[in-house]
């Protein structure tokens, strides 16, 4: 089978695998329960929702969610629920984690907890987003648009490795990785020079089997005609699979502009953890949550 080209391919691939069990941290809101219901019904995961059993039952009945589809673990309060959900994953009785009504900060704190969290010692917590843009022939995988605010060169090396690992699950065996900056020329600012260094590491096969190029701007990374117009002769000719963004600001802008102007759909998860962690927010579409769960299950 060739590389996945649509987010629905992720869901299709997961359906053929043994079910993974997802722990939902503080799943006391309708959005979360509906996403869990859909994922279970479509055979993507089994789920255990952690939170107040009474509250979960109340929200479920008000929003047409069938609580018989998943297990409920009765825990009172946000922080204890996050802790309990993380523990389920740590103990191996769940394979992945999903954020419910918990605040992102509290959710992350649970993951990052040194004693009881899900980050290996010395590990880097990062994030990967997989985009499907209408009328675009490939999935576009971008990192890090959400977690590492000001990645150092060393962080970018690790972000690249984490992202390449996820991309292999999308059946992209030798990904083309664009180390993004504002221009193809090597200029004096940090993102440009770091991109050149990262491309140098890729050429020396320090990321394994990838084709790396940088510095490169987003047009040459994603659109062959831009390379033609610019006369750009690099190893990537508008056919990048992975975009490593220079910093969180540019990544976040790219992410949101693609979703809003480009009607893109996205699946996303936290990387660097011992098990996939889904960080969907209320602003994400239902499909996006569903595909994020599928991406997590595929990598669990």
């Amino acid at each position: 089978m060739g590389p996945m080209t649509h987010l629905s391919d992720i869901a299709a691939a997961v359906k053929g695998l043994p079910h993974k069990r997802m722990a939902v941290a503080y799943g006391e809101d309708a959005h979360t329960l509906q996403a869990v219901q859909r994922a279970v019904r479509e055979g993507i995961v089994d789920a255990v929702v952690v939170g107040s059993a009474a509250k979960i039952a109340e929200v479920a009945s008000a929003s047409d969610v069938d609580t018989s589809l998943f297990e409920i673990m009765d825990v009172q309060g946000e922080l204890p629920s996050v802790k309990a959900a993380v523990k389920l994953v740590r103990d191996g009785s769940a394979h992945m984690l999903m954020k419910g009504l918990a605040h992102t900060d509290n959710y992350m704190r649970g993951i990052l907890d040194k004693q009881n969290g899900l980050l290996p010692e010395g590990g880097l917590l990062s994030h990967v987003a997989v985009f499907e843009a209408p009328n675009y022939p490939r999935l576009i995988i971008v990192s890090d648009v959400a977690v590492v605010p000001l990645p150092s060169l060393q962080d970018k090396v690790r972000i690249t490795k984490l992202t390449v690992g996820i991309v292999h699950s999308l059946r992209i065996d030798v990904p083309k990785v664009a180390f993004l900056s504002a221009s193809e020329s090597v200029l004096k600012f940090a993102s440009s020079q770091e991109a050149a260094v990262l491309a140098g590491m890729a050429v020396r096969k320090q990321f394994g089997a990838i084709i790396g190029e940088g510095p490169i701007s987003i047009d040459c990374a994603l659109f062959p005609d831009a390379c033609q117009v610019k006369g750009f002769m690099g190893r990537i000719q508008g056919d990048a699979d992975i975009i490593i963004v220079p910093n969180i600001e540019s990544g976040n802008v790219f992410y949101k502009v693609l979703c809003r102007f480009g009607s893109g759909e996205v699946a996303a998860m936290v990387t660097g953890t011992t098990a996939p962690c889904i960080l969907a927010s209320r602003g994400d579409s239902e499909d996006s949550k569903f595909y994020s769960i599928a991406l997590g299950a595929l990598n669990a």
């Binding site: 260094v197 491309a199 140098g200 020396r204 320090q206 510095p215 690099g234």
Partner: protein, 300 residues
């Protein structure tokens, strides 16, 4: 045709006719170099210093004290300034440092008002005649002037040296940016510089040559080593120009070639309007003569 031996270099210099060679404050070492170049028919010395003292030195050297043009200067520093002024006015073609400090010589060359610098950076080009492995002229840059070159200085030094190689008949000299390893790591900053410089070459920001780096010395000059390590890049063990990380590296590499391998060397400072020669007391006669020849061929 590429000049691949010093005999060819000398023949090439002879074709340019006798060039005027200003010697700034001659002493035995520089006078010897000037007389050798005169004998070989490539230079007409212009001796800048105290006339009586110069005549005395000529007599000691067994030369005719009245056979050479003399320009008066009372001190080494003044002699440097006079030599540079003669060069600026095109009254001499090559400058040879005599009994002045190297710093005094460079100071006069770099002087903002009266100096003759044309490139952004002055760099030393040291050529070694490889009579064992590849029978070619190998450059080491920079073992003499740039102490701890910045990325920008390295790029300028490459440009300076590539211009010399064009004059030596090399259409597309191969430049290896050296480090201790061929992988890129932030623990060795020179590997990062090398990766950046290589990307700059890929982008056409460094022209008229082929660049690869980081490369360890063996991968730069031995096809066999390059093949074993899978570094079939553009240089592939056939480097003409070796860019070293710093002056220590350049000095050690250069002197190793001179003393361990027995290669003859020639040295010229590039980046001024005229070639500037800074001989070492330890240079043998052939090195002194070939340095003058190199200065002439590199510029005329």
């Amino acid at each position: 045709m590429e000049i691949r031996t010093f005999d060819q270099l000398l023949e090439e210099a002879k074709k340019r006719g006798r060039k005027k060679l200003a010697v700034a404050f001659p002493e035995e070492v520089s006078l010897h170099a000037a007389l050798l170049a005169h004998e070989a028919g490539i230079a007409a010395p212009v001796l800048v210093g105290v006339p009586d003292k110069i005549r005395e030195l000529l007599v000691q050297a067994g030369a005719d004290p009245d056979a050479f043009e003399i320009e008066e200067a009372g001190s080494p520093a003044e002699a440097c300034a006079v030599a540079v002024a003669l060069a600026r006015d095109d009254k001499v073609d090559v400058i040879l440092k005599g009994g002045a400090q190297t710093a005094q010589m460079l100071h006069a060359v770099l002087d903002k008002e009266n100096g003759i610098r044309v490139s952004k950076v002055l760099s030393e080009c040291s050529l070694y005649e490889d009579t064992r492995m590849r029978h070619s002229l190998l450059a080491v840059v920079d073992g003499g002037i740039l102490i701890a070159p910045t990325l920008e200085e390295k790029v300028e030094a490459i440009r300076n040296t590539v211009n010399v190689y064009h004059k030596l008949g090399y259409e597309n000299p191969k430049v290896a940016v050296l480090a201790a390893v061929e992988t890129v790591t932030d623990k060795m900053p020179c590997t990062e510089d090398a990766a950046i410089i290589t990307r700059m070459w890929e982008r056409g920001q460094i022209k008229g040559c082929v660049v690869d780096g980081p490369l360890a010395l063996d991968n730069a000059i031995s096809e066999r080593a390059a093949t074993i390590k899978g570094l079939s890049g553009p240089v592939g063990g056939n480097a003409d120009i070796l860019i070293v990380p710093d002056i220590e590296g350049g000095n050690l590499l250069g002197k190793s070639m001179t003393y361990f391998a027995g290669f003859t060397s020639a040295h010229v400072t590039i980046g001024a309007r005229k070639p500037v020669l800074v001989p070492s007391r330890a240079d043998d006669g052939r090195t002194k003569l070939m340095s003058v020849a190199l200065g002439i061929v590199a510029y005329y």
